[in-house]
């Protein structure tokens, strides 16, 4: 085997490995993303219920809001290029996430802005104030889903 063909074989092996790595990674990324979004939904639901109760459990409210804020900040990192439908795994992420310029980033940053606002009210805001801000925050979820999430169920 000549040097050239050895190099070519090595290159090919590396290429295959890289390809395999991407192929292995994407499903993992997608499933982690789905878990995080589920946690987000679960937390929003729990917070909604907590805010409907006659007496607020402030510690619970603060911890739920912190979770939401943390997830909101992390959200853009859950969508690396290649983690769309082309990964061959079932995902509701639409290709527009990666093809419509910075519109998706903008939608994600709207969410973070509202979540920060919610967090700034967490310690002192009364139930109605928090409810209103949670509604505004939830609105950014819906706005993003409308454009970037496939309606699957």
């Amino acid at each position: 085997m000549g040097l050239h063909s050895k190099k070519a074989a090595l290159g090919l092996t590396l290429l295959l490995l890289a390809g395999a790595a991407v192929a292995l990674d994407a499903p993992q990324i997608i499933s982690a993303r789905q878990d995080s979004l589920k946690t987000l939904g679960k937390t929003v639901k729990a917070l909604n219920e907590e805010l409907g109760k006659p007496e607020l459990d402030r510690a619970l409210v603060v911890s739920d809001i912190q979770t939401i804020e943390k997830l909101a900040v992390a959200l853009p990192s859950w969508f690396p290029a290649g983690s769309g439908a082309e990964a061959g795994v079932k995902t509701a992420a639409r290709p527009e996430i990666w093809t419509s310029g910075d519109k998706f980033q903008q939608a994600a940053s709207d969410f973070a802005t509202q979540a920060h606002k919610l967090a700034s009210l967490a310690a002192t805001g009364d139930a109605d104030t928090l409810k209103a801000q949670l509604k505004a925050t939830g609105g950014t979820c819906g706005a993003c889903h409308k454009e970037f999430k496939r309606k699957d169920d």
Partner: protein
Amino acid sequence: MTDSGGGVHSIVLWDAPVRIFHWSLTILIGCSWWTAETDRMAWHRWSGYAILTLLIFRLSWGVFGSETARFTQFLRGPSALIRYIRHSLLPKSPKLGQIGHNPLGGWSVVGLLTMLLSQAALGLFSVDTDGVESGPLADLLSFEQGRKAAHFHHLLFSLIQLLVLLHLAAILFYWLARQDNLIRPMISGRKEVPLAVPAPYRVGISRAALLAALALAVTILVINLPALLARL
């Protein structure tokens, strides 16, 4: 329908409560569909509550209401059903001396009512994908369970759409193949029938109003269940 020898008379086939129920439900199903498609969830919930109230009313009207609204009047056993279907397959079937829902239509009423009631019940427990919007009873379930309810809520709507299409196809069939316009009596209430067929009895409007108020009370009770439970 003109005179066919024996003479005809005009009767009130469907009373006002049945007709109001039918057309309100028609409009509200459209509302529910539209508000779901356009993410107007506050309106979607109102539409659902109205549908739930209508359905509870219709069930009670099926027991305490006018003759052609009663389940005992139009629900028949399998043998009557088979006889009716066989009779319908005759190319030029003579009209039967019965009024109201035929045995096949009667069961399709039950099918539609069951589907819609299940649909309303699922909606009460449904949770949106982001946990922002939910039905009034979703507090009683976990996020995952609420998502399951939403999933079945969505699936069942496809089935309801199918039943509605079947309903429309049947109306078209009676219109074209049987020269029997089913829509007009559902609007005016009236139908011309042979003199030999007596007018069905009707129950007064005050009883309908009472049952409607009760149905509304049941709906209000149901949607406030979590708040009531929290107070106990």
